[in-house]
Subunit: 538 residues, 2 copies
């Protein structure tokens, strides 16, 4: 699993049983390793870049450890691979060789072949575990899914969270399973011819259990963000911070055989460097591809309508493989539901959906009423396979006050139309779990923070957020266990309309895979007919 481009940190266990503990803390005077089970401490040595290191023999997987900063703070490891007692407890050593992959024949997958299925481990199955997900892979394969996209699994506070509040980017959420379970999942998917995409959050860290600041300047106040200070991608001492996240990407892609990453909120990678963090990340992943002979895919969530992010590096771009296109969703959603609140005020006209079919982005320089400015440029040099579209996703459902899915918002006929609009499009389609059978359970925002002030702030923040979207009703309490429970899939796939919709999804996916016109998705072969009187789009 070795990747040598960026300095690895964390507890690096070798086959010999010697474990190298390495952590970056450039401004600390003294660092020590503490093994709480034996109450032994070991002084660490600093190198010229501010990395501290100690090597200890005879360490086994599962050994608990902490770092002691300046004889004062006891802290978990920023690059912890395992937090058995949660975000505030000690870290634990893992064995990178504890699982033997048998997927040597697997070479990865191009976006052109992806039928993506976004899922959340905690709510996809009643068990809410990786193992339970693994047992469902054949069912997804039968549906026609070729790639699952897993919402973030980095360790978060408590046992309920969408995943975007993770604070240990290298650690698998301890309530989902262990690292061997995740490797087993990926191995099984590859056996079934399915790729695995993992959602990772490199634009911010969650608010609770975030101890990075104790170690060094992981954050900068050069930029204001909705989540406070920005990650330090361009200020003094940024190199080890950039390496921390890039090495994280390489860990998932190399050690875990993950096929690609969905990068959360790439527009919030604030970086004025000549070499943008996105580009450095993409170049590192391309180097891994060359070395391993396996295709790896980077898909960005980007709210800028700026094709530079998906332009190849030699052409002056940042080199991502693809990006999410929220505007396709917004255009379709507002036409079908008639909703015009919040950001939907920029949509509602069927011509805008036609524009998205043609240009991917709807706003390519026109004035946006919602943004109060001209927005975007036209991505006319970019293949359709560089754009991921969806009619639902975790955000578009869960950022509604009641978390309603299309299965509740739309009549059955409109659900069928939406499915066709998605699956017969020239873009890379992404389904959100349960969409295929018209799930009626909601997908509200949920969390399980432990810090009382934070819990209160989140509750109030959610209420504020919905001021623009909903005039009536009360926002649910995201901390409530029943809200999390309500988000679990019902798996009511057999009853009338559910079964019919499922069959339609299966049919459309199969059609997409086999029909020549749907496989040949060149821009030059695609013609969008303008709608007449907002009535029909052929």
């Amino acid at each position: 699993m070795a990747t040598s481009t960026y300095k690895q940190t964390g507890a690096l266990l070798a086959a010999s049983g010697i474990c190298t503990f390495r952590v970056w803390a450039p401004f600390r005077e003294k660092l020590a390793l503490l093994l709480p089970e034996s109450n032994a401490t070991y002084a660490m040595e600093r190198d010229g870049e501010g990395y501290w290191e100690v090597q200890i023999p005879g360490i086994g997987a599962g050994t608990l450890y902490q770092f002691v900063l300046d004889n004062d703070l006891q802290r978990p490891d920023p690059a912890s691979r395992w937090q058995p007692q949660g975000v505030h407890g000690p870290s634990a050593v893992t064995d990178p060789a504890g699982f033997s992959f048998t997927d040597a024949q697997w070479k990865g997958m191009d976006t052109a072949d992806m039928i993506l299925y976004e899922l959340h481990i905690g709510t996809f199955t009643p068990e809410g575990t990786i193992d339970a997900l693994t047992t469902r892979l054949p069912w997804l394969q039968e549906l026609g899914i070729t790639a699952i996209e897993i919402m973030p699994v980095a360790q978060f506070p408590g046992n309920r969270n969408w995943g975007y509040d993770g604070v240990f980017p290298y650690a698998l959420q301890n309530t989902y399973g262990n690292i061997n379970d995740l490797k087993k999942l990926v191995n099984a998917a590859h056996k079934l011819g399915m790729a695995v995409i993992l959602d990772v959050v490199y634009n911010h860290q969650g608010p609770e259990g975030n101890y990075l600041g104790d170690y060094g300047p992981y954050f900068t106040d050069k930029y204001h963000t909705p989540w406070g200070k920005a990650i330090n991608f361009d200020d003094a001492c940024c190199d080890p911070v950039r390496a921390f996240y890039i090495q994280n990407a390489l860990m998932w892609l190399d050690e875990f055989h993950i096929d690609g990453l969905r990068l959360d909120a790439v527009h919030a990678y604030w970086d004025s460097s000549a070499l943008h963090f996105t580009q450095e990340l993409a170049a590192a992943v391309q180097e891994l591809e060359m070395r391993t002979g396996r295709k790896k895919t980077l898909i960005g969530e980007i709210d800028l309508n700026n094709p530079r992010y998906i332009t190849p590096i030699p052409n002056g771009g940042y080199g991502l493989d693809a990006q999410w296109v929220d505007e396709f969703h917004h255009a379709l959603h507002s036409c079908l539901t008639g909703e015009q609140q919040g950001y939907y005020e920029d949509f509602g006209d069927l011509a805008l959906l036609a524009k998205s079919y043609a240009d991917a982005y709807v706003y390519t320089g026109q004035y946006s009423v919602h943004r109060k400015r001209k927005f975007g440029v036209k991505p006319d040099q970019h293949a359709y396979t560089r754009f991921v579209t969806f009619i639902q996703n975790h955000d578009q459902i869960g950022n509604r006050m009641l978390g309603e899915r299309l299965g509740v918002l739309l009549p059955f006929e409109a659900q069928k139309l939406s499915a066709a609009a998605l699956l017969l499009s020239p873009f890379v389609p992404l389904l959100f779990m349960g969409e295929e059978y018209g799930e009626k359970n909601p997908f509200p925002f949920f969390c399980s923070f432990e810090d009382a002030d934070l819990v209160q702030a989140v509750r109030e923040g959610r209420k504020r957020e919905f001021a623009a979207f909903h005039l009536n009703g009360e926002a649910q309490d995201p901390q409530a266990e029943e809200v999390f429970a309500s988000a679990k899939l019902s798996w009511q796939t057999q009853a009338g309309e559910h079964a019919a919709l499922l069959a339609l999804y299966q049919f459309l996916i199969n059609l997409r895979k086999t029909h020549a016109a749907l496989r040949n998705r060149q821009r030059s072969n695609t013609k969008v007919h303008a709608p007449v009187n907002n009535a029909v789009l052929v």
Copy 2:
């Protein structure tokens, strides 16, 4: 002088004597035009974009006016062309047709042909006026200068300022002369075959007399800058702000026949838009070039070592013609003076000067001790004529506590060596006024603010700034009139070493213009020999 791409604001006087007053104030309820000389007020009408307008017949050049905001604030015009009573007084109408150019044969100048001469109007001559500068043009022509670069002339508080505290980007500093004087200067330069570059500040506004915020969201708090809030290039309502500055560039280039702009601190154009402000500006200027058949040049001051700014737009760049290269200066200066304070800590090795001759940038990805990070990328696709180099400039002199020039810092032989290092380089050379004869007068920072708190803050800020540079001595008072007076050129061009240096500059400039090897500045024809033992660079 009409440029129609961006909405023009200000007092737009037509030949008919009808004057259109237009100003952007999107959140004001009511706007009125006040003509204080007649004490007449006129209600203005708002359009859908938040521009207010009124047309008044019988207006002559010189007519004073103000805008009255919400029946409350009386304010000068953000796009004022003339502030006869300074930054706090009323604006005045100017006649764009008041001067008749006779330079129809002039087609502009490529950077390859530029020998740039940076000057400050207030200190270049004893008179400190545009007219006095105009009389000196033949002398500069004899020296061999082909392009003068004028430090900012936008109206600033008081009568003494470098120009970077300007608050009326469209108004010519009232103590320098009037707009016809500036046009006469440009016309005369063109007659002598010389180009005129104007320094413009679009990254911030000065701290005193800045009334933009009363009119609308010209600023955003998305970014922290050394000067407070950033100009709003990407937040809500940014379109009219972008247009305000682009229209300003077009005014100087079109109405004033200016050949190019030196853009101050382009790295501080904070903009996450898909269409970067720099690119939109460059495209607008290119459109003007096409329309007028005259070459216009944009030169950026950019501290990012990111060649994207000078990459042509079709190649994914922002389309500037050239940029300043501070690192050439730093490499040479630290070798010659032995200085290692402040940012000079990154230099001092002759090999770094050799690197600058080869790559323009010194830092192309290596670790910078001063910046505490890896910095820059290599601009290997970019012609030498895209880089402006210098051995002195206003900043490098004036940002020293005592404002000493090389004429004081270096022995005579080293001054001659510097001149050759600059003028025989493959880059576009820029001299700072007086350098050509080894001026010994300093060029300290000076200003004449009227706001007492600001004066104190500036005094203290200067002292803090010099903590890194100078261990001993007292920072001068930038407000003192004698400090300004001390910055005036002595014009001691006749005495011994002065005359000899002047002759050398003249000789080297002539050699540069006539010697085939120095005219053929292709990258492929240039070879930099590595220095041996920091001893010699051939």
